[in-house]
Symmetry: C2
DNA sequence: TACGTTATTATATGGTAGTTCAATAAGGAA
DNA sequence: TTCCTTATTGAACTACCATATAATAACGTA
């Protein structure tokens, strides 16, 4: 009885991939493991099983398991940033800000798998120098994007705000809502989380919707 | 050269403790390990070394390492709740709410060790049924306390608010501010975090300070 | 077709994980 | 003082961890 893939002797045992492609595959496998079992599920054995490759590959393409974790973090942030930075580039400042908030609580990011990953990563940043380095780069960009969006709305409305401080509040609230919802999903919906952001911002910026 | 403790043959090799006392000691050792290295530092070997006991004790007093982790979570929440519930019981509603917020960002709770512990625990809740059970009990109490404090202020001022929703916003913001500060301490101070909470609440409840 | 580069596999290794359990001994009770 | 309960120890055991490395083989190139 043949397995799903026939294993006749004339077909290759494995397919070689370029370093770039294989790295990407391993990162995605790492993300899947993190989503499934948190940081304790992020092991060489499980990731390689997920990616259907042998154990040696992670060490070969990333120097170590920590190197892969850093790459995972980079990729996760990259996904969020690309959506934020493409969110309504050629529209009004208000629509852009609303678009960013909507994106944050869209199914793509506001789901249990993603939040499990973020929580696993946050818990390791303080103990993993490679992770901290990646974080510093990406977080600065993230906060700058939010600050810019807030400032644009304020300027368009002739308001003077401490955009850095408001950005910090918004970022904190978004992260906190994610944590609450992840831990106790019944008490909160994506819609309610979105609403909470507007309840924070509208007293500062005026009506946004 | 004798060690710090003399080891003459007539003194006991170890001191027996009541189950309650020993459990408490192991929980504190577990907290110390979690604070130091996050969830990856929460191992039998390290905790027993921290508590200066042999490896068999954790299994004896808690059924497993997960049992200890659940007890740690219970203890951590208990510390927060006792402070919240004792915060200004016989004073004005406003002073009580301000007292709770001040307590949240006091040195006792708003410090790197504590936040490292919370992040480690949050990351495990979804994957550890024992932890989830403890969480449900304590979190409900926590949220109820906050909701009560908010409602008391609103009632005293003749305001109608959705206390449940506002409580959820406040709890989220507090958690999120903790995460931000933990990950990037330079961008935020305890004072600024406290200020952020008032910026959220005062548009809803009026001046609180 | 034959060659050479190197991605990939597969095994070995040393370390550490959690749990079990028989032996030990502390310390209260009789 | 002697006995008894049981907290505590410490070693054994199995499983899994990350990493190093030699052998293998895919596949572009000549």
């Amino acid at each position: 009885m043949p397995k799903t893939k026939k294993k006749t002797s004339d077909q290759p045992k494995f397919a070689r991939q370029s370093a770039e492609v294989r790295r990407e595959m391993l990162v995605e496998a790492g993300i899947a493991c993190l989503a499934k079992d948190g940081i304790l599920g992020f092991t060489i054995d499980r990731i390689c099983a997920e990616a259907r490759v042998s154990r040696g590959l992670i060490t070969h393409h990333f120097k170590s398991i920590d190197g892969l974790l850093a790459a995972v973090y980079d990729t996760m942030y990259g996904k969020v940033l690309s959506v934020i930075e493409e969110s309504g580039v050629s529209t009004t400042p208000e629509a852009r800000l609303v678009g960013i908030i909507d994106a944050m609580f869209s199914r793509e990011f506001f789901n249990r798998e993603s939040l499990n990953i973020w929580l696993a990563l946050w818990g390791e940043i303080a103990n993993n120098p490679a992770l901290l380095k990646v974080h510093r780069k990406q977080y600065a960009r993230y906060r700058a994007d939010i600050e810019r969006a807030l400032l644009d709305v304020a300027n368009a409305r002739g308001l003077t705000i401490d955009a850095g401080f408001v950005a910090m509040m918004l970022v904190s609230l978004v992260d906190g809502l994610g944590v609450e919802w992840f831990i106790e999903p019944k008490l909160l919906s994506a819609k309610a989380a979105r609403e909470a952001c507007f309840r924070l911002l509208e007293p500062i910026l005026g009506p946004l919707r």
